[in-house]
């Protein structure tokens, strides 16, 4: 079983595909869950404290907006653990963790810079595209350690 970073990190489709084909999906829910289940100072709604943008300095310099650095603090560690990634290129209607275009550019760059296997896709807009989309994911995941 391999750890697969999914982009958009909030994707229901990718989350499902990765787990369905026997791997672990690394998406934003994991980062948010970790924060919600850790004690500390109260900072609703996401339990992201002003310390998180400071942690984000690991991925982006201080002149980068706090929202980018805060998002990177959640998603950066997931990329570091990832053994492969699936990226949907036309993910322009994903919000929240994926709501900032600048963060999204940085996320994709960091994924590619790591040199892990990456599968690039577009959302399937028809049944025939759906066939290719699912088959591509299945083949990609099968090729990874522990794939089935």
């Amino acid at each position: 079983m391999a750890k697969i970073f999914i982009y958009p990190t909030t994707s229901l489709i990718l989350s499902d595909m990765v787990e369905r084909f026997g791997h672990e999906a690394l998406g934003s829910a994991l980062g948010i869950r970790e924060r919600l289940q850790t004690g500390g100072f109260d900072s609703p709604p996401l339990q992201i404290t002003p310390d998180e943008p400071k942690k984000g300095l690991r991925w982006a310099a201080v002149e980068v907006p706090s929202g980018v650095r805060g998002r990177m603090a959640i998603l950066g560690p997931l990329i570091e653990q990832a053994e492969a990634a699936i990226i949907i290129e036309d993910a322009d209607l994903a919000f929240g963790c994926m709501g900032c275009a600048r963060t999204n550019e940085l996320l994709k760059y960091i994924v590619r810079h790591r040199g892990i296997p990456v599968l690039d896709l577009m959302y399937p807009r028809s049944e025939s595209e759906g066939e290719k989309f699912v088959a591509a994911i299945r083949d990609f995941l099968k090729s990874l350690p522990g794939g089935r």
């Binding site: 929202g67 919000f95 900032c100």
Partner: protein, 412 residues
Amino acid sequence: MAAPVRIAQLSCGPEYSGVQNEINEAAKSVGAEIFFPDVTLADIRRDFAELGLDVASPDLRLAIARAKALVEGRIEADAVFITTCFRCAEAAIVRNELRRYIHENSRLPVVSYSFTERTTAGTLLTRMEALTTIARRRALLARERQEGLTLGIDSGSSTTKAVVMQENHVLGSGWLPTVEVVGSAEEAVREALRQSGVAMGGIEAIGTTGYGRFLVGKHFDADLIQEELTVNSKGAVYLAEHQHGAATVIDIGGMDNKAISVHDGIPGTFTMGGICAGASGRFLEMTAKRLGVDIRELGPLALKGESKRVPMNSYCIVFGTQSLVNALAAGSSPADVAAAACHSVAEQVFEQQLQEVDIKEPVIMVGGTSLIEGLVHAMGQLLNVDILVPPRSQFIGAVGSALLASGFIGGK
């Protein structure tokens, strides 16, 4: 208890900067609540395309759809708070355009703010208080005439001012540097009462504003404790005798600056800046000290000089002062240095704040710094307008408080 004022939030990034709770707390502390206008995916797609501002960030597209839902009346709100990350160019464009779009197409009061992870509820409090006041107290703000015998106190970060008013006239005033908040207020009030020839017992209602408004308000058992954005707007158009129609109010204070777009005496949009001392009255005080002149002489001196003859390399209060010192050492005249200092402050306010409100004439400058003619002149040049400085402009907050307090006479 009154129903909370509902403030619609249009934003990108506060949850991820750890400041959403600060926004919620600031709203809560002034009896308001933040909510997110409910839109569907279809709304987002359509409204984003209709507005025609082609931004890449999905959360900004969501903000656009929410703004349209408010303007078109599909969702009701009392006020709007637009907030995005500091230093994000994409968000700054959206923030400005949405502020303008809402201001031009609805009667909703709007404030916009760019946050960092260091933004606290305290920083946001005055803005939220102003938003709720505009939403909740339109009737109070509609007052155009002072009635009865009232006292207004403006407890500012640099100076404390008090005025006594009776039947639309200022009877007396007191002014002194703020040392100890309550003590300074007592002294200013004593002087205002002395000049007026009335006793404290005769005062029918009291209003307070400024940084020390809560403390002073409690001490004097004030009828109205109100932030300076709404009070100064009211005071400015009242003293300038321009209570109807559009106006722009600029107040360069000791600790922060306000630029307010006013309609019929009620703020529509406003900005408050207060991060940099280099853009404040303090910088001019330091310049006067350095030049060995009284702050009252700085303005006339600046009018005799030419700011362009002095190279200013920084807006910073420390490095900017250094530039002025270097210029003096290199033979620049004190008049040129005074003019350069005034220009520097005006330019900084112009660049950082006046871009976020729509400048409509008359432009009224108020507060103690409006008495520095060189500063008013520099601002006028930058905006290319004749700036109006009303009589007693340094007492703007105190007059505004006394005016609004008359609405409380006899427990009204």
